[in-house]
Assembly symmetry: C2
Homo-oligomer: 233 residues x 2
DNA sequence: CGAATAGTGTCTCTGAGACATTATAGG
DNA sequence: CCTATAATGTCTCAGAGACACTATTCG
């Protein structure tokens, strides 16, 4: 990362945007700000002098949603070809994954954010823009480009789901296999076979049985598992 | 992508770097500049005012390697935490894939670039830095961080190889199934079974037989295929 | 005809879906 | 005992590896 020549390079303003997702009632939901001028938008802010990119993502999450720490990974860098006045802007999008209860706590603290269901209109790894709906299934208007960014986030999730641990970032620390399956089904948009899913998950060696069982059910309680990274990963 | 508040945001300089790879003698090779101060580096340059990111990648490829057009995809954005003087720098890395003959033509035009074999010391999707060797298998010293960036590029290639068309970007327009298998084996670092590989590739529906055959072999000539994107992809 | 590689047929094994069955909680 | 869900056993099928065999070109 050393390079010295830099004549005439453009100075640009960096913005960081968050695609913050969680599982709400068995479907993927996104955190949105607004509406501003009738459209909802992904939360974001400018990069501060001396602030690392990843730190900016966590700061925005803290400031705008009141959430302290969450899984975040860089998604894509967009070149806002903005011919309007002012300095040029480059936007770096981060994918943030939250467990449902963390998101619920954030909403209760009332920061004025909206949670919208993400509806993916394409199958498999096709890609493309997605839609967002409110609780009553009515579609919400998104700011220009945000439907595509959300679509890329869903595509990334689908692609990484079965060879990485992203699925666990959407669950609390202890969870049942049924909850894990709900996460996978919501992300992939398909129904999965229960015995096959259990075998596949347990064979990966990522799960550790806690011996505890869920409480408060009027039927046989499920065992609680914990995510345990394999050594060497 | 509309947002209005932007108080106190940092102005940074944007640099674009290329990880340009090709298949040379059945192994993956990277295009490097230098050596400068004893170390080789990934080619790169500052983003020019008004220039789109993707255009900058193609310009750098043209200017520094004399190559007109190539497959390029954004890889990652690095935060050069550079506490030294001058404006802060954010580096956007692009993965560029070339066919071996395009690279050979570039080298013949003599732009002073080095081609180094990429040796991946980890298995599967583990990730981590890679090594680069010259033709005599001696390791070359890389600039700080570049071994990790190259490693991410190899990881991306391995991950996308079997569900996307990246493999074809390393081949000329017409190629044999054996060449395609060589590409896959070099990227994955494993040997593949010939009948199974053929079946898998032909079943994807991405290949179109041209009816032509390779020339100049002292044995049975192989049929030449062409990449044909599936409709709807 | 021999050498070298292209291309194919077939067996087997593994992993996942389908489906049925057993287990365990509350009422 | 009934209901609802957890958890598991088993059959089947599809995809991939292994291996052997046939096909085609040059010399």
């Amino acid at each position: 990362m050393s390079d010295t020549k830099s004549k005439g390079a453009a100075l640009v303003e960096i913005r960081v945007r968050l695609i913050a997702l969680a599982l709400i009632e068995d479907s993927i939901a996104a955190l949105l700000t607004g509406p501003t001028d009738g459209a909802y938008a992904l939360p974001g802010d400018g990069l501060q002098p001396g602030e690392a990119l990843e730190d900016a993502a966590q700061r925005i999450l803290q400031t705008q949603a009141g959430i302290d720490q969450a899984y975040a990974e860089q998604l894509y860098t967009f070149d806002d070809v903005n011919p309007a006045a002012g300095p040029r802007v480059v936007t770096i999008a981060y994918l943030v994954l939250l467990s449902g209860d963390v998101l619920a706590r954030s909403l209760r603290s009332g920061k004025g954010l909206t949670v919208a269901d993400v509806v993916v209109p394409w199958a498999e790894e096709t890609g493309g823009p997605v839609e967002v709906h409110d609780a009553g299934q009515s579609p919400l208007k998104l700011a220009e480009g945000d439907a595509h960014v959300l679509g890329q986030a869903m595509l990334r999730l689908r692609g990484k789901l079965d060879y990485s641990a992203v699925g666990f970032a959407l669950l609390p620390e202890r969870f049942t296999l049924r909850q894990l399956q709900d996460v996978h089904e919501a992300i992939l948009g398909v129904c999965l076979n229960k015995p096959a899913f259990r075998r596949r998950m347990l064979d990966k060696g990522w799960l550790e049985a806690t011996g505890e069982r869920e409480a408060g059910a009027s039927f046989r309680p499920a065992e609680l598992y914990r995510y345990r990274p394999r050594k060497g990963a």
